[in-house]
């Protein structure tokens, strides 16, 4: 597309990046039909091509309105559109820039600000969130069903392996996951232990920074990122092979650290190194698969798998988990439209409940169409979101693997 960015942004790093992205978009609209929000709402401006155009107009000097902001807010940032785009348009980056500019110009109402702050604070404050989840569980039987859905009974996490192997990896201290489903990291630790790797857990105040980043709290995100880098650095120096993200939503952020910190003189290099070491748990396990596969007790359960957007569109990791699940012997059922988002999308389910619910029910319909006995996925967000709409167990796939190795 032809562009002509306004002076306020033209020569800034953001402006230069946005300009290059906008120019690479040819307006073909191949992305639009695959966009979940477009599918639900049917409005050009609630699809990627429309959003790109809106952002272009804002960056070219048009005054954004509340409506503009709403169209951008409704985007799940699932990046499905990136997978569909033949021109390699980096929509995810562009929408980040677009959102921050629009927020600067349009602002947020007091209520919106409050909701967003509460969300951030609650999810980021470990003790608080832990307590909330505990209380929630204790009173779960008494909760109205809509809320009950968000508070799932806890699976027994089991024990963390104690063996000290020569090979080590670091696991991210994840903000919500440990409270909501600690069993995932424990399972990962046990699986890696079987592969001869010790998984190290360092407390760094939690969170990869993605949450703040997506709620447009840039400084807070930077603080989180720096804290993580500082906490891991000694272990990296000591030879840790990888930083493992067990939630694909975090993995994708970890891999972006290099880009995210590129303008920070003190951290740019370290961040690049961290990003290079960052792996999604599925990549790490795939590398160890030959030896693990031999130890697996086969199962022929019928399961269906939901690949999170952050995995398939964000990190462009497709088919890896599915291949391993098949190797285990699972009867992996075909799922229609597996490229679509489930509607969880970080805090989206709280901020845009209507669209989110619609996407959840569509997703569950396709996941359960063939009658699975359980559902697997790769991200805590998707897991709890989906679980809130079905009585079938929804698990992280690493938990399934852990069970087959026990």
């Amino acid at each position: 597309m032809q562009t002509n960015l306004a002076p306020f942004i033209k020569d800034t790093p953001q402006g230069i990046e946005a300009d290059a992205i906008l120019r690479s978009c040819v307006h073909c609209g191949f992305c639009t039909a695959t966009c979940p929000t477009y599918q639900v709402l049917g409005d050009e401006l609630d699809g990627p091509r429309g959003r790109i155009y809106l952002i272009k107009q804002v960056l070219e000097g048009a005054e954004p309105t509340k409506k503009t902001q709403q169209h951008l807010d409704r985007c799940l940032t699932c990046r499905n559109c990136e997978s569909a785009c033949p021109s390699g348009v980096q929509y995810g980056r562009l929408v980040d820039i677009g959102r921050s500019v629009v927020e600067e110009k349009v602002g947020r109402t007091a209520l919106e600000k409050a909701t967003r702050a509460t969300l951030r604070k609650a999810l980021l404050n470990k003790p608080l969130f832990n307590t909330a989840m505990k209380i929630g569980r204790a009173v779960r039987p008494l909760l109205p069903s809509a809320l009950k859905a968000k508070v799932q009974p806890l699976r027994n996490a089991g024990t963390w392996p104690t063996a000290q192997h020569a090979r080590t990896m670091i696991v991210l201290d994840n903000c919500v996951q440990n409270a909501m489903s600690p069993s995932i990291d424990f399972a990962t630790a046990r699986v890696l232990d079987k592969a001869g790797v010790t998984l190290k857990w360092v407390s760094a105040g939690g969170c990869c920074g993605a949450l703040s980043h997506h709620l447009n709290a840039h400084d807070e995100a930077v603080t989180k990122v720096k804290a993580n880098i500082d906490a891991w650095w000694p272990l990296i120096e000591a030879g840790a092979e990888a930083i493992v993200g067990t939630a694909s939503g975090c993995s994708v952020m970890l891999k972006d650290y290099g880009h995210f910190m590129q303008h920070d003189a003190a951290y740019a290099e370290k961040a690049k190194r961290v990003a290079a070491l960052s792996k999604d748990v599925s990549e790490v396990i795939a590398a160890e698969w030959p030896q693990l596969k031999a130890k697996v007790k086969a199962s022929s359960d019928r399961i269906s798998y939901h690949p999170p957007c952050t995995l398939q569109h964000g990190m462009k990791l497709k088919g890896g988990v599915e291949a391993m699940l098949k190797d285990i012997g699972f009867d992996l059922l075909p799922v229609a439209d597996s490229h679509l988002c489930c509607g969880s999308a970080g805090t989206y389910s709280v901020l845009q409940p209507t669209i989110s619910e619609e996407l959840k029910s569509r997703k569950l319909k396709s996941l359960t169409a063939e009658g699975p006995s359980q559902i697997a996925t790769s991200n805590i967000g998707c897991m709890t979101h989906l679980q809130s709409g079905t009585t079938l167990p929804v698990k992280h796939w690493i938990e399934l693997l852990d069970e087959r190795l026990a």
Binding site: M1, Q2, T3, N4, A20, R23, S24, V26, H27, C28, G29, F30, A33, G42, E44, L45, G50, Y53, L54, Q57, A62, T65, K67, T68, H71, P86, S87
Partner: protein, 467 residues
């Protein structure tokens, strides 16, 4: 140009109010929605409508048009907005009728090989929904356009040689006339319409005579055997001569598409085609029974061999074929992403088949006079080809070169007994070329326009030069 007085602000405001009252949230005045409806593809010089309305029934469309006719406010129909000649620009503001909510397939009559659809149904939607019947609708312009828009622009696609264009495949229409009446032309009976052939008049009228709300379309059985093949050449002229020979021998190709070396390069990069060289190329497809397809291929092979063509690469599996034709359909986008940030003109000449080689050579010579990146792609089986002329819109000199070359190529085609537009239509960009091509005959077209739309509210300023 004409000759249409922009309605007064108060007239517009009261029409908008009335529409809001009737349509609620389906009458939209936000800037971004109006902007989205103010242009097609191609040159995106926008002219904003005052309001965009999303009707759902024929009667709703009629009520909008009636209101506009009374208030003398322009009405512009919007399908999917892929037209290339400025068809959608609201030169005088007005009401844009977006037909996307009229997207129901009303009937599929598998035995009669026809169907009736609302105007907002897109060609891909129709084919997806009738797939299970073993039938298909063949007209496939390079964009997933609405069937209403395709009717309004008389669109055609890659298989016009075999299946014709929109005009041969429309049995009848429901049209809302400029005074807000709903009429039906044609019937289920394939070959009938009492009186003048009005269907043919509305097909291709680019929204200037009425709003098409329903279309009765012919469908075809999916052939027993479909085989696609690619053949490459060192010389563009050889590839063109193959096409001419095949047409003169009457080989009933379902598709035969030409891409020059630049276009091929762009497509290889954009659609990630493997194993092809950036050389002049023919994409071909054969339909029929096994024996029949085999014979067509043999005949074609002997022709391509005469002209030094490469061995054929076949794509018989549906997924390979889909990939190949998708690459062809995406040629325009491939061209656009070849030079990010650039704009492009796509010429659309069509000449008698025997002049095709001369015309393409002359077009190439014209391009060579510029410093611009140009590529050629075309449904050459019917003498139609596009030169996509890419230019930097911020560079006045490039823009001028592009405009000159495009106009010159149109003139060359007209001089060879051809037309400036084989499928994209007139819109606002080709009004002058239409005069050059048709001379006084334009007067009759204008008289018809004035007779059927006396207040000139239907897409004013398009298609027919009014002075």
């Amino acid at each position: 140009m004409l000759v249409f007085e922009r309605p007064s602000e108060t007239a517009v405001a009261s029409a908008v109010d009335a529409l809001r009252k009737d349509f609620g949230e389906r009458a939209v005045t936000s800037h971004s929605v109006r902007e989205h409806h103010s242009h097609g593809e191609g040159m995106r010089d926008a002219g904003l409508p005052d309001v965009v309305v999303f009707p759902e029934t024929n009667e709703e469309v009629a009520s909008i048009v009636k209101l506009c006719n009374q208030a003398r406010i322009p009405v512009i129909a919007f399908g999917t907005g892929t037209s290339l000649e400025g068809h959608l620009k609201a030169l005088y503001g007005g009401v844009c009728i977006d037909l996307s909510r009229m997207n129901n397939i009303l009937q599929v009559n598998a035995e009669d090989l026809d169907c009736r659809v609302q105007a907002g149904v897109t060609r891909e939607q129709l084919n997806a929904e009738i797939r299970s019947t073993g039938l298909f609708f063949p007209i496939d312009p390079g964009a997933n356009a609405s069937l209403g828009g395709m009717s309004a622009t008389r669109a055609s696609g890659t298989n016009a040689v075999r299946y014709g264009t929109m005009k041969e495949n429309i049995l009848g229409l429901t049209v809302v006339t400029p005074d807000g009446r709903i009429i039906k032309t044609g019937t289920r009976a394939r070959k009938s319409s009492a009186g003048y052939d009005l269907t043919r008049l509305y097909v291709g009228s680019e929204g200037t005579l009425g709003i098409i709300t329903e279309i009765q379309l012919k469908l075809y059985g999916v052939p027993e055997r479909i085989s696609a093949a690619v053949c490459q050449f060192d010389e563009l002229s050889n590839a063109v001569n193959v096409v001419i020979t095949a047409m003169q021998l009457g080989i009933p190709m379902a598709r035969i598409e030409l891409l020059d070396e630049v276009q091929m390069d762009a497509c290889i990069k954009y659609s990630k085609l493997e194993g092809f060289a950036a050389k002049p190329t023919l994409f071909m497809e054969f339909h029929g029974t096994d024996a029949y397809v085999a014979e067509q291929i043999e005949q074609m092979k002997s022709i391509t061999a005469d002209y030094g063509g490469s061995d054929y690469r076949f794509a018989d599996k549906p997924e390979d074929r889909t990939k190949l034709w998708k690459a062809r359909h995406d040629a325009y986008w491939a061209g656009m992403s070849y030079k990010p940030g650039n704009q492009a003109f796509a010429t659309d000449s069509c000449v008698p088949i025997s002049r095709l080689a001369d015309c393409i050579a002359a077009a190439k010579a014209e391009i060579a006079k510029t410093s611009l990146t140009c590529m050629i792609v075309g449904h050459v089986g019917d003498g139609n080809f596009h030169v996509q002329i890419s230019f930097n819109p911020d560079n006045a000199q490039e823009r001028e070169q592009a405009e000159t070359a495009a106009a010159q190529i149109a003139r060359i085609a007209i001089g060879m007994g051809g037309t400036c537009t084989g499928e994209h239509g007139i819109g606002i960009h080709k009004l002058d070329a239409l005069k050059e091509e048709h001379g006084e005959a334009v007067d009759v077209m204008r008289t018809i326009k004035k007779a059927l739309d006396p207040n000139n509210i239907m897409n004013p300023g398009k298609t027919i030069p009014m002075n």
